[in-house]
Amino acid sequence: MRVEDLKTHFFTRAGVVRAVDGVSFEVRPGEVLGLVGESGCGKTVTGFSILGLVDPPGRIVGGRIIFDGTDLLQLGEARMRQIRGARIAMVFQDPMMTLNPVLRIDTQMVEAVRAHQDVDASTALRIARDALERVGIPSPDSRLRSYPHQFSGGMRQRVAIAIALLNRPKLIIADEPTTALDVTIQAQILYEAQKLCRESGTALIWITHDLSVVAGLADRICVMYAGRIVEQGSVDEVLDAPLHPYTHGLIGSVPSRNRRGAPLAQIPGMTPALVNLPPGCAFRSRCPRAQPRCTEQPELQARNGRLVRCFYPL
């Protein structure tokens, strides 16, 4: 899949919020792409835009999303429904919100299978059972007959992932799927995700604010700030030798990277409001390297095989 110059804006009373403003990236089969950024940087809206799930006042105002040779933005809602859930699936942060609390797991899973595949109920049930087994749910046969509230948080997230897997999608978009989970449970989910990509060749876009999670999981990283990608490259390159001052500051803020007890290298200030963002580099007011030229908008430029959006990279 390839995203080209995607622009999703929200037209609010206070002004235009450019939540996603010219984002481009691509994911290859079997690859894990980490989409990293702080709250409000547009990473979730990017995921929603790919699936065509942006609600008014939001609108995709430009760009192309090429999936398997077709531009998803040119498809009608009917065609999009065939793709959503079948060839591209999404896993959300809060599984309690994505599962219907009054329906049993088997009902929900069979429904998802039969929406996209022409199979009878018993085959659909078998597919559902296999999916639960693949994500490591013990005794899948009896668990199929449970309701969502009978699962723990980690198990619910596994069910959500199993549902995403049902129709063997080529791409899964996972939006902060482990943020609400405990460390040991998070490790279990990361393990399943990793196994899945390796075995089935499914591409994965892992949206998170936690650099440490993508460090162990992803092949490549896109760092987003205020609706734009500011740096893109392989995990090792970006984390070991960040080029953009924001990436550098973000990595410096992680406690384990600092000497114990010493003050953390902090980024001053806070993320800007996206309403009527002034032109130029959005990071310049917090940036230690800012120069007068930063009031112009820097473009993504290639540098040592990766991309960075900065006039004065590190």
Partner: protein, 329 residues
């Protein structure tokens, strides 16, 4: 000097049977009140000026323990002594003075501030009521406090919704500091914040510690944060302390199998493309914790003895306590 001592502190939450359950019991059914042992026989002490990190996963009782230390909850059993004095032995006036010395900072910077109060009232109410400042000096006192917490004194007439998450955290910290505490209980105080803001707040905590000589009980599930900030770390699992040691020691040489597994699974920037090897199983329900050592169903080294007897905390090195049968014999 020990500023805080906990001895055999337990907290049980009892959910009494509902009406149908009581009838069933009267008719001879095997129904009992639901009891959660949120904190089960916990003892530790905190030295003056020390930062103690309390780590555990959800449901391990770390927040309940923090609330007992802050005086919000009363222990079901055991004693909590602050500067050598048991709160229950004090008279009302002394107890109130003692309670002011321990303040709590909460997790959610959105839920813990009253949305209908101005910053000046949120921060200024308590010191005024407790007679720490006179009303005519309040303004100057608040200015000084807000500046110390990295806020502009001009924010005083504003309401909480006008602030970002990081600024609200600072307001919560200013509120706690307003009554001149000696001891802060921080319950997941930075968990809701973005990484770059989290670093700012952690730096503020360390600055305040240097300036005011504060003692902290820092409750968190984030081992990276705890490692950075703490002098000593206590690990809890299902209501019990499983290990406690100096921070360097516990991260260098964890003794308890749970601590070892936990440390191995923390995602770190330096671990690339790792094979995640998770601990099997889930955290059991605290309603019916496993007998013996609570960790035995998930432990790779479990022995028959672990199913029957809970291992006591014993010293495995100087100042390093661990509760595991592997350390015997």
């Amino acid at each position: 000097m020990k500023i805080l001592e906990l001895e055999h502190v337990s907290k049980r939450f009892v959910q009494p049977l509902d009406f149908a359950g009581r009838i069933a019991r009267a008719l001879g059914a095997d129904a009992a009140d639901e009891v959660v042992h949120a904190v089960d026989d916990v003892s530790f002490s905190v030295e003056e000026g020390e930062v103690v990190g309390l780590v555990g996963e959800s449901g391990c009782g770390k927040s309940t323990l923090g609330r007992m230390v802050a005086g919000i909850l009363e222990p079901s059993a055991g004693t909590i002594r602050y500067r050598g004095k048991d709160a229950t032995s004090l008279n009302e006036r002394e107890a109130r003075q003692a309670a002011l010395k321990v303040q709590m900072i909460f997790q959610d910077p959105f839920a813990s501030l009253n949305p209908r109060m101005r910053v000046a009232d949120i921060v200024g109410e308590a010191p005024l009521v407790h007679g720490i400042v006179k009303r005519e000096q309040l303004d100057g006192y608040l200015d000084e406090l807000l500046v110390r917490c990295g806020l502009d004194p001009g924010y005083k007439p504003r309401y909480p919704h006008q602030f970002s998450g990081g600024q609200r955290s600072r307001i919560g910290i200013a509120r706690a500091l307003a009554v001149k505490p000696e001891f802060l209980v921080c319950d997941e105080a930075v968990a809701a914040l973005d990484v770059s803001i989290q670093a700012q707040i952690l730096n503020l905590f360390m600055q305040l510690r240097r300036d005011l000589g504060l003692t902290y009980l820092f409750i968190s599930h984030d081992l990276g944060v705890v490692e950075h900030l703490s002098d000593r770390v206590i690990i809890m699992y299902l209501g019990r302390i499983v290990e406690s040691a100096a921070a360097e020691e516990i991260f260098r040489a964890p003794n308890h199998p749970y601590t070892q597994a936990l440390l191995k699974q923390v995602p770190r920037l330096d671990t690339r493309k790792t094979q995640f090897k998770p601990i099997v199983g889930e955290i059991p329900s605290p309603l019916s914790p496993p007998a013996g050592c609570h960790f035995h169903p998930r432990c790779p080294h479990a022995m028959p003895r672990c199913r029957e007897h809970a291992p006591p905390l014993r010293e495995v090195a100087a100042g390093h306590l661990s509760a595991c049968h592997l350390n015997e014999a």
